[in-house]
């Protein structure tokens, strides 16, 4: 009888609470990436393409202040060579100084520099973007969730890269009723986490960036590439983490197995 009672309580809790669909935006599109799963790794060519999209499009407004150019040639990343990294860094202008006369000066970027921010301060960023500050992108795929639910996230992951992909590809015309409440200078995007109206205009269009490896450059392809690149910038040690984890778990499993037999042996002389 007690068992029935506890089942009843569990049932009531599970079903009487209505699922709130409108928690935060629409769930992101569940696309898959090469870096998912316990053995998943980044696709180097995809990260290199994603870098190019960031450089040519996103970096106009979005900073990436926790990533240094030298990271571009780190193990487990886009695998640019050291020479390539030097050349890529030099395409950015970095403010340095003061020199011996006390003046700040501009110089080409070096591998040791962090990605320079497009705006000198948040106020300048807001003034140039209709009052909205474009967020830093270094950690964006860890700072956003593609979908919700304790069990859903356990099985499918948190969905940060999918959120970025869905946002970039998710601009659409609002229906007539919504259109009436469209705020000035905002765009409709049902994937946007804070309420459908986003200040960022659609950032990418088909064919906007030309890839050196001749890979397809539709909006969909570029969104996949740049979201993969942002997954790397957020978690640059992901490959090292998964590989170390595999060794650690094998070691622990073997040791636990041995320990189990030791324990059995020790206890067998009892009684």
């Amino acid at each position: 009888m007690k068992k029935k009672l506890s089942l009843l309580v569990a049932g009531l809790v599970a079903f009487a609470v209505p699922a709130k669909a409108a928690e935060e935006g629409t769930p992101a599109k569940g696309i898959s990436y090469s870096f998912e799963g316990p053995f998943g790794t980044f696709d180097r060519a995809q990260l290199q393409r994603g870098y190019k999209v960031y450089k040519e499009v996103c970096s106009g407004c979005h900073s990436m202040k926790y990533v240094a150019f030298r990271n571009l040639s780190d193990k487990g990343g886009p695998a640019f060579t050291v020479e390539q990294t030097k050349a890529l860094a030099a395409t950015f202008t970095v403010k340095d100084g003061p020199d011996k006369d006390g003046n700040m000066f501009d110089r080409p970027g070096l591998p040791s520099d962090y990605f320079p921010s497009p705006f000198p301060n948040p106020e300048a960023a807001a003034a140039a973007n209709g009052g909205a500050i474009p967020p830093d992108l270094s950690l964006i795929t860890k700072a956003r969730e593609g979908w919700h639910g304790t069990f859903n996230q356990l099985v499918n992951g948190i969905g940060g890269p999918q959120y970025v992909y869905s946002l970039i590809t998710g601009y659409s015309e609002p229906d007539e009723a919504l259109k009436k409440e469209q705020p000035e200078g905002k765009y409709y995007n049902k994937y946007f986490a804070s309420g459908h109206w986003i200040s960022m205009p659609p950032p990418l269009a088909d064919g906007q960036v030309t890839f050196d490896d001749g890979a397809p450059n539709t909006l969909d392809d570029m969104a996949r590439d740049v979201s993969a690149y942002l997954a790397w910038t957020a978690e640059p040690k992901m490959e090292e983490r998964k590989q170390t984890g595999f060794m650690v778990l094998i070691y622990l499993a073997v040791l636990a197995g041995l320990m189990y037999f030791v324990k059995k042996r020790v206890w067998s002389d009892l009684h």
Partner: protein, 415 residues
């Protein structure tokens, strides 16, 4: 702690040392030879797991502090520096971050085990109460640790929790200002939380010592709940329980490792990867999962002060548990009615956690109130009444008899 030592050292150095500091005799008696009931199941391994987790948290924490900067402008980026530039920094941080969750998973299992087997009953009331104090210190430590990365949820979580103190009549605002070290959560708050987060684990280690001391006076409880009657009921702690606990710790580490290496951010909140911003409030402020049941109780009461009182009472009521449970039978195995209510209570706690994670609107509010009411009802009404009204099943005559009785049917086919 079991009377004068009868240990006789054999080596010359051993004798010399024994006359000056009998540390080996102490370890031998309290840890190696300590008589332990021979019927402890794996639910009883979580005390050992918790001790190991405390050590893991202290070691990873000390190394993290070598690279962390407790300053509002630099805290967030120093954590990113650990994640990106420090050798194995990502591993240290993910171990520490998930270690906190593992610590709470283990402590909740440990507490529910104590509740099921009546481990809080005479003569173990003080042992239990020290445990409740450990739990309170753990909660304070974890809360302050969560503030240190200075993400959005760090900041707003700190703001909401410290604001609770402003509900105290007359002096509330003064107390809150004093806690903050200013008129808002800011650099002084971060600095003092950092200092206390470093201090409290060592306080915890001291209180854990008292907990183990209080354990060693009456000895372990066990699944039958009946007291040890003689040497046939016990085995020496080493090697029997060092090996059994050792195995359990390794299995727990595998579980822990799966999260550290393959889902390190699953138990955290994504919003905490956005740097703290006092001007932007996150859509849903909610604490880490291990506080959610208490957060639900806090929000179940419409009045702020009464809500705070209800939340603190929900933890402090555990101190009175040894006297609220009127049954003299310890183990739930022999208390059929109690056992049913125990599982209902466990489900209610999980359900409260679920409610705590949801916004306080719609039917969540009503369910939060019903469940919060039931939480207290369990302690104040059900436990005292069930103890008086229920007729327990017959107890085995001794631990040893119980072990032998259970083994027989398993041996029968082999005979």
């Amino acid at each position: 702690m079991s009377g004068p030592s009868n240990y006789q050292p054999t080596s010359a150095f051993g004798k010399w040392m024994h006359e000056r500091l009998p540390i080996y005799a102490f370890v031998k008696e309290t840890a190696l030879d300590f008589p332990t009931p021979k019927n402890l199941n794996y639910w009883f391994t979580f005390g050992g797991i918790l001790a190991v987790m405390l050590v893991v948290q202290i070691i990873t924490g000390i190394v993290l502090v070598m690279h962390y900067t407790p300053q509002t402008d630099m805290a967030f980026s120093s954590v990113e520096h650990i994640m990106r530039d420090v050798n194995y920094g990502w591993m240290l941080r993910y171990m520490h971050m998930n270690g906190a969750s593992m610590f709470f998973i283990a402590v909740y299992i440990h507490m529910f085990r104590g509740m099921y087997y009546g481990s809080y009953k005479a003569p173990r009331e003080v042992l239990w109460m020290i445990g409740v104090i450990i739990y309170l210190i753990m909660m304070a430590t974890a809360f302050m640790g969560y503030v240190l990365p200075w993400g959005q949820m760090s900041f707003w979580g700190a703001k909401v929790i410290t604001n609770l103190f402003s509900a105290i009549p007359f002096v509330g605002d003064t107390v809150t200002t004093w806690l903050w070290g200013g008129y808002s959560v800011d650099n002084p708050t971060l600095n003092r939380f950092f200092s206390l987060h470093y201090l409290l684990p060592f306080v915890l280690a001291g209180v854990v010592f008292l907990h183990i001391w209080a354990l060693h006076v009456p000895g372990n409880n066990n699944p039958t709940g009946i007291s040890v009657k003689g040497p046939q009921d016990t085995v020496p702690f080493h090697p029997y329980y060092t090996m059994k606990d050792g195995f359990a710790i390794l299995v727990f580490f595998i579980f822990y490792g799966i999260f550290v290496f393959y889902g390190p951010n699953y138990m955290g909140d994504a919003v905490n990867y956005v740097p703290a911003n006092p001007l932007v409030t996150p859509a849903h402020i909610k604490p880490e999962w291990y506080y959610l049941p208490f957060y639900a109780i806090l929000r179940a009461v419409p009045d702020k002060l009464l809500g705070v009182i209800a939340m603190f009472s929900s933890i402090l009521i555990l101190l009175a548990l040894p006297w609220l449970d009127t049954s003299r039978v310890r183990s739930g195995n022999y208390r059929p009615i109690f056992r049913g209510f125990f599982w209902v209570f466990a489900i209610v706690c999980v359900a409260l956690g679920y409610i705590g994670s949801k916004p306080p609107e719609g039917s969540y509010v009503l369910w939060g109130r019903i469940l919060a009411f039931y939480y207290f009802f369990h302690f104040i009404v059900i436990l005292p009444l069930v103890g008086l009204l229920e007729s327990p099943k017959p107890l085995p005559s001794s631990i040893s008899d119980d072990v032998l009785a259970k083994r027989k049917p398993m041996l029968a086919p082999a005979e």
